[in-house]
């Protein structure tokens, strides 16, 4: 598999970027200078949840990047470098969970609809039509607004917005793979529908799905950051990139570093996913391999 990546420099860069981000997420406690503490608080709805707290030190606020604070400090004197480092954990958690859940829902519903066709298919397609007829960012905003402010709610909103795409993609794949003669061959040797669906059809529809998943990891990250930016995600004070940009925005003109570095972190991560996705597409799609 690896030798295929070597053919394309850009996808190789993407792979390295992603491995780099994963490395940072895993070793964040060793790389960061400051560390958050976690406290349990009760929410407006009366439930309890864990919240992330960073030490506040007003003497150190708005220090420009230097050898001690590589990315400078923010309006509460917190080290932006450390917050960006810890931000990888939250970001990766959001995109992996969202894309994974949406894919599972999409595979099951899209697979069944595409394979069995008929009424089930008709209903599913109309439902996805409706979902796709609302711009996804706006739908996510509405759902997240209804659920209330928290990272979990953002993830839920994003899954709700994202699954129809996968259902569509997989349905299309299943429809075309169903035409292959090996499916008919499986039927003629007595395989039942479920075996055909899960053994012959779905495994073969994975390649384009994989490309879409990789590209969507980046897209989900962008949308999640956007939601945080307008105040729908993590509670204030959390090391979440979108949120940091949002609070840095007020101080842009005197402390440019505040919003810049979290943004760069987003760009690098999303770029990694996009390059990787493009690379996988080039490898799996023989049409573009020319």
């Amino acid at each position: 598999m690896l030798h295929l990546f070597r053919r394309s420099l850009l996808s190789m860069i993407g792979l390295i970027l992603i491995l780099f981000i994963i490395f940072i997420a895993i070793f964040a406690p060793y790389l960061a200078i400051q560390h958050p503490t976690y406290v349990e608080v009760s929410t407006e709805q009366g439930t309890r949840r864990i919240e992330e707290r960073w030490d506040i030190n007003f003497q150190d606020k708005f220090i420009p990047p230097n050898s001690e604070h590589y990315f400078g400090t923010d309006d509460f004197g917190r080290d932006i470098y450390s917050m960006v480092i810890y931000g990888t954990q939250i970001s990766l958690k959001i995109c992996l969970m969202v894309v994974f859940s949406a894919t599972i829902i999409g595979i099951i519903l899209g697979g069944i609809a595409g394979y069995f066709g008929g009424k089930i298919d008709e209903i599913l397609m109309r439902v996805t039509d409706v979902f796709l007829s609302i711009p996804y960012l706006i739908l996510a905003i509405a759902v997240a607004a209804a659920l209330g402010r928290s990272i979990e709610n953002i993830m839920m909103a994003l899954v709700l917005v994202w699954w129809p795409q996968y259902a569509r993609l997989l349905r299309g794949q299943v429809l075309s793979i169903r035409e292959n003669q090996y499916v008919e061959a499986a039927r003629s040797i007595g395989a039942n529908n479920w075996r055909i669906l899960f053994r012959h059809v779905i495994p073969n529809s994975f390649a384009p799905l994989l490309v879409q998943i990789t590209l969507d990891l980046g897209a989900v990250l962008l949308v999640a950051a956007g939601l945080s930016f307008i105040g729908l995600g993590a509670p204030p004070g959390t090391a979440e990139w979108g949120l940091m940009i949002s609070s840095g925005r007020m101080h842009m003109f005197h402390s440019w570093w505040y919003a810049t570095f979290p943004g760069l972190a987003i760009v690098i991560t999303v770029l990694g996913f996009n390059l990787l996705g493009d690379g996988i597409r080039d490898i799996t799609d023989p049409k573009l391999r020319r």
Binding site: P135, I138, A146
Partner: protein
Amino acid sequence: MKTWEYIVRRLLLLIPVLIGVTIITFVISHVIPADPAIAFAGGPKAQPETIERIREELHLNEPLLVQYFYYLNDLLHLNFGKSYLESRPVLESITQYFPATFELTIFAMLISVPLGILGGIISAIRRNKLSDHITRIIAILGYSMPIFWLALMLQYLLAYQFPILPLEGRLSIGLIAPQSITGLYVIDSILTGNINTLSASLYHLILPSFTLGFATMALLLRMTRSSMLEVMGMDYVRTARAKGLSERVVIMKHALRNALIPTITVSGLQFGALLGGAVLTESIFNWPGMGRFAANAVMGLDFNSVMGFTIIVAIIYVIANLIVDLLYAVIDPRVKLGGE
């Protein structure tokens, strides 16, 4: 299938989609929140009397199905409730803000579509040459960047550090908006012959519309490039060469028209992405459009406005898609117009 039949069919298909949209927004507003009344009242800090009043107003004590019909009835009368932030009906706010957003998105499209297509063609023709690599890198950066961050960076660089473009707003301070005819400042200025407002509004449009359109441009660039490359390997392009046509004619006439078909579809769909992106862009450039209105509503827990905005944008988007679909049928003679 005849063209009119196709149009009728598409219009009829609009009905279930619109009903579906209302169901989704209904579920979001009445079912998902832990207590819809609290959500509509503006969060848990609202007065108990207000919450009680809203409960009555929205019939929240009735069964869900009844609630839905009340909701649908309201929508049919264009009653989207009251905006708590602005203390006036949501519809009124949105009609006021809509032209600004419309102007911004149209300009974003005008920038991104031609640039994207042109870049894609150049990239495909000069495949694996330097200009191809540069355009591809711009493209991939374009859809890897959070739009609000790009907006902040451009604003900081081009309006603050090197102040060559205005910081925010639709017009320079001190200028009075042109007489409102269409609500689009550029067109109104032309209609009223007001050069000052025309140049000022164009000047103010540059940064926001470029920011908003950047991701779309990147996406179109990539689409055009790959479909150009695919088309150029097709048999009919070889036929065109075998006829003795020059490379220029082969590409511009035979390949391009086929390659643009998928691009057109995507351009239409991108209209929705632009409306979404407007929420983020407008709030940074302080653009008085419905995107900024929605962002403020979210921050201020003005749930009514958020929902009103959502449903109106959905309707606009559905209609935009319909137009694209009809256009598509004109461009591609192969579209059997919905026949299966």
